[in-house]
Amino acid sequence: MSHIRVLVGTRKGAFILTSDAARRDWRVSGPFFGGWEIFHIAGSPANPDRLYASQTSSWFGQVIQRSDDGGASWNPVGNDFRYAGDPGTHLYYDGSSKPWAFKRVWHLEPSPTDPDTVYAGVEDAALFRSTDGGASWQELPALRAQQGAKWMPGAGGMCLHTLLLDPVNPARMYVAISAAGAFRSDDAGASWKPINRGLHSQYIPEPEAEIGHCVHRIAMHPTRPQTLFMQKHWDVMRSDDAGDSWVEVSGNLPSDFGFAMAVHAHEPDTLYVVPIQSDSEHYPPEGKLRVYRSQTGGRTWDALTDGLPQQHCYVNVLRDAMAVDTLDACGVYFGTTGGQVYVSPDAGDHWQAIVRDLPAVLSVSVQTLP
């Protein structure tokens, strides 16, 4: 019988939440790596017991942890992230140029076919790959050649936070960087192109510039990888040509600012966002925690509220903190900066808190296990 493993990264450690397919009764394990920030944990699709975790600290730097038994035990692997060659400089908030400097790993994306291959999106923004289970890391430097000297940090840092691997075309991948925008490679990372046409960002000097947009998240459905959805700093966007052009699909959302985004496991036109009041007020509009679901690929959205707090709620839901399982019905999960992790076992119609009092949640990923 299928069961679910939810991997939760928080400001002060990692937690693993497990349940059977009913997704009503949960077992909570952790904290793992107590006191460390866990930016992301991800499981290998090729070997679900192979997990990778990004453990980081302003005091003690970056650690990559690996588990080969589904999170029961962990061991540190490689943490040597060196840019290829001289990475030069990038723009800073005040218009000056600063040398590129590695700070932390925001996102880990294991290969769908090889448990020993995993990608890391890092701050300062770059893409690394390991082919030996995380023991060593090599940069894919062509990405920074896309006008990297003009990239500038978002408020959270200049981070490569999203990486999508095309499940149909293994040579194609997408990344998103705050605040540089979205980029695509069609040759497994050997070269890249900006894919930001159609984005409009009124907060940058050239609102429709080729780069410089603060993309918060992109998402795709595995059966329709040409179609991408984007939660931008402001605006929810859609592309049907692999990012070559984008149109806005914010529609009737109460706010089109937000971070998290997920696509239903079985319905390519059903997607989820969590609107946030504004870039100055990182909490839900009206103090109501609402997931919005579109079943039309955007533009028309319905508020999902059953089981979510509808008053006095001022948490945020960060960009890597929403995910789905692949059961039928699709389960949807998200974590908040207030330490709650919510699940809907029925595609968003009803919600319950799995846990309520974890440290601030940075990331949520989900494994559907046989």
């Binding site: 790596f33 107590g34 006191g35 460390w36 600290s57 302003s58 005091w59 003690f60 730097g61 970056q62 650690v63 540190p76 943490n79 040597d80 060196r82």
Partner: protein, 100 residues
Amino acid sequence: MATVRVVLPYQLYTLAHSAAELELEIADTVTLAAVLDALETAWPMLTGAVRDRVTGRRRPLVRFYACQDDLSNLAPDIPLPDDVAAGREPLLVVGAIAGG
């Protein structure tokens, strides 16, 4: 050969899967560089956690104390106090009190 005692903070001894207090054998003059070299050889997962991998500089929020003194800014090749070299006092690696 000197036997030097090093006390690690919680985050580092849990990362190393080690005891909080370690004993390190130092063949040459007991300096910060020699102690950290020995530490990273014995526990390679600590490489980069105390000092920068490339520059060798102490991470900004890591401090070194021994014998009631702050040795954080001691040059890496200056001998540590005799009591540390003799193993009578430990070298304390401390995470700076900062942040929440």
